[in-house]
Structure formats: structure tokens, C-alpha cells
Symmetry: C2
Subunit: 203 residues, 2 copies
DNA sequence: TGTACATCAGTGAACGCGCGTTCACTGATGTAC
DNA sequence: TGTACATCAGTGAACGCGCGTTCACTGATGTAC
């Protein structure tokens, strides 16, 4: 239980500088444009320093993704104004997701495109970030579907998320069969409306 | 208008052998496991021969994807038994999609994960493969929604496809927030049902 | 507080390797007469 | 049909390069007395 030493502080500082730099690079060049030399250059340290402070590049990327998930969580939370019906709350979450993806395209897509090398596991603390996201959907959905068990509720929340995600994904990728980008909002709204239509809209 | 010479035939033969080999490698090792040396080895030709017959590896991959899309199209067409209502037809298409993705995981994911280098365009003949897929959804959807214009119909068909795709994608990736795999079928069914619920189900 | 020693973070040149692509050569196929 | 020449598909060793990661060295920070 000692106070943090100067070394500790410097280490923490370097970590955040590296995460900042990696985040910036992913935001501007995309995940595939992320190079160790660029990141360390931006962070103002030597190439080797990265490996003192992170396991490797993948580890650093996971830290960026964790930060992105937290930012997304805050954006979604901000959509949940007081007095929304559960159905309105879900619609607002979906629109919040669309907005976040549009405003943070490369960081958002890094979330889904980052692949760990064969056999490497995603750390638990990062999985918890995912769970927190689903929790935000479960809360209003539970009010709408008091008939469902907790498990079914989580399952349906993930399906709802995945469906909205799919629409945003194919639209933003711009190739394949996606919708035009200016239609994403209304299409997602129609989708969520359909998936919550005819359900008791209790407070 | 000459008859194909022996050279022509050999060239065509090599092309199909290479596509076969690449397809097999993608099926077994995934897109990232595809190496020029493996493919040419499997096809029984020298490394350099690939570049006589295809532009480069990307070109070869596009040919594999085109074949995959055609196979998917046939699978989906096979679900369209006589006498299905439009709503049933759409449900059957969705289940067909789930089945195809499950049975051809790596080829299916190659369809969406293959990225062309900066500035390179997908050839038109391959875009036509995509359009044919959407057409299969538009046909029954048009019966269900006679009120929509052609454009809106296509837009809604793409949204329906994207939503189903998202659910399958996140479930099959197994990480992030996907549904468990044995639940994909019922979740997709619920999704499609919701998106077609309450609509006139005319023949 | 001051000095001597130990530790370990920071450095960046060098390593290593994977792998797509090229290219000079050869030999089979096609053409002209 | 046969011969001489031209073409161009097939070959695989070599090229090139990008880039993550290491590692021997240095110098700043921490510890003991």
C-alpha cells in the first residue's frame, strides 16, 4: 500500500499517452493503418517502450476498444431522458447507436474488426465492457416484456442489438447490400418499431 | 469466333483449378489463411502461374466470392417451395440464410471480410451477384407491401437482409454480444416475424 | 542530508520472417509455308 | 504431312518490403546505510 512512486506515475502517463496515440491513429487511419512506429512516435517515446508497458500491439488495441465501448455507453446513456416510455427508450438507444457509429466510424469498426491471434483470449475486464452495453438494452426491454425470463430477456436484447448493428454495418461499409447512409436512421427506426410493436408499453 | 484452342482450354482449366484450390483453402483456413503458395500448390501449378491467369490474389478471391454468392443464391431459391405465402417465403429465405452461413462459415465470412486495397473497385460483374441476392427478397416482399415504391421496396429488402445478417454475424463470431448459436434460428424467426407482422399476407 | 549501489524504464538499431509479386528462362503450342 | 519459326504459358528462385518484436546498452529513479 505504498504511495505511487515517480516511476509509477511515469508508467501510467506513458500508458495513457500510448492509448491516446493509438486511438488517434485508429480514428484517422483505421485499425489496419495502426503501426507500432507511428503510435510510439505520436506518444513521444521509443519503439521499444511500447513493450515495457503493454503486452504487445493487440493488448494496446484492446485498451483502445475498451475506451471506445465506455464512450459508446455514455452516449447511449445520454439518450435516456426522463419520462420516456420503454419503447421510446429503445428507439432512442438505437438512434444513439447509429449516431455514435456515424461519428466514430473507424473506432466503432475497430471494435468488431480486431481479431486476436489464434488461441489468445479476450481479457475478462474487456468482456465486462460488452456486458454493460447489453444491460442498457435489457433495462427498458424488461419493462416492455415482463413475461420473459432474465435469460430470454438478455437473448432478445442481444438480437435487437445485433439486428440494428447489422443495418448500420452494411450501410457504413458502403459495399455489398447496405442501405444508403442518409436512410440509416429511418430504417433502424422502422426495424426497432417492428421489433417492439404491439407490445404493452407500460411505464 | 474461332474454336477454343488447346491453350484456351488449358487456361480455363487452370483458372477453375485455382478457384477450386482457393475456395478449399478459404473453407478450411479462412480468408486470412489464404496464401498464394498454398493455392498454387493445391492447384498443381507454379507460383507464378497464378499471375498469368488472375490479376493478383484479390482478383482470385473475388472469383471465389462470386461462386459463394451463387451457391448462396441457389440455397435460398431452394427454400421457395410452391404455395408459400409471402410472409412464409421471407421466413424461409431467412432460415435458408442462417443455414447457409452455418454450413459455409468461412466462405460466408470471406464474403464480408475481404477488403480491396485502397482505391481498387469491385468489378461490376460481382456487384451484379449482390443485386441478384436482394432481388430474391424483393419478390415476396413486393407481394406483402404493394404500397411501397420500387425504391422503398429495395431499401426495405436490404434492411431486412442486414438485420438478419447482423444477428447471424454476431452469433457466429462468438465474441462480443452475439446470441448462442443454437438460438440463431429462433431469434431470426422472431426478427423476421416482427418485421412482417400485421402486414396483409396476400397471395 | 549525502553517497554508493541496485534496479528497471527508456532507447532505437537490428532481427526475422512472412509472403505477394516479379522476371529471366524453357518448353509446349500454334502458325506459315 | 512436315519443317522452321514465333508466341506465350509455365516455372520457381529471388526480390523487396513492411513491420512486429527483441535486446544489449544508458541513464534516471529508488533504496540502504
Amino acid at each position: 500500500m505504498d504511495l505511487p512512486t515517480k516511476k509509477d506515475l511515469q508508467r501510467d502517463d506513458l500508458r495513457t499517452r500510448l492509448i491516446d496515440a493509438a486511438e488517434g491513429r485508429i480514428a484517422s487511419q483505421g485499425l489496419t493503418g495502426l503501426k507500432a512506429r507511428d503510435v510510439t512516435g505520436d506518444a513521444g517515446c521509443a519503439l521499444g517502450a511500447l513493450y515495457n508497458v503493454f503486452e504487445d500491439l493487440d493488448d494496446l488495441i484492446i485498451h483502445v476498444s475498451s475506451r471506445t465501448l465506455k464512450k459508446m455507453g455514455s452516449s447511449l446513456a445520454a439518450t435516456q431522458e426522463k419520462g420516456l416510455t420503454p419503447k421510446q427508450a429503445l428507439a432512442a438507444l438505437a438512434q444513439g447507436y447509429v449516431t455514435f457509429a456515424l461519428n466514430n466510424r473507424t473506432l466503432w469498426s475497430a471494435l468488431f474488426n480486431h481479431r486476436l491471434p489464434q488461441g489468445r483470449q479476450v481479457p475478462d475486464w474487456h468482456l465486462a465492457d460488452h456486458a454493460a452495453l447489453i444491460k442498457q438494452i435489457v433495462t427498458p426491454l424488461a419493462l416492455l416484456r415482463p413475461d420473459l425470463t432474465t435469460d430470454d430477456l438478455h437473448l432478445r436484447a442481444r438480437t435487437l442489438f445485433a439486428a440494428v448493428h447489422g443495418v448500420v454495418l452494411l450501410a457504413l461499409e458502403g459495399r455489398f447490400v447496405g442501405a444508403p447512409q442518409d436512410k440509416i436512421g429511418t430504417e433502424v427506426a422502422a426495424l426497432v418499431d417492428a421489433m417492439t410493436r404491439g407490445l404493452a408499453d407500460a411505464r
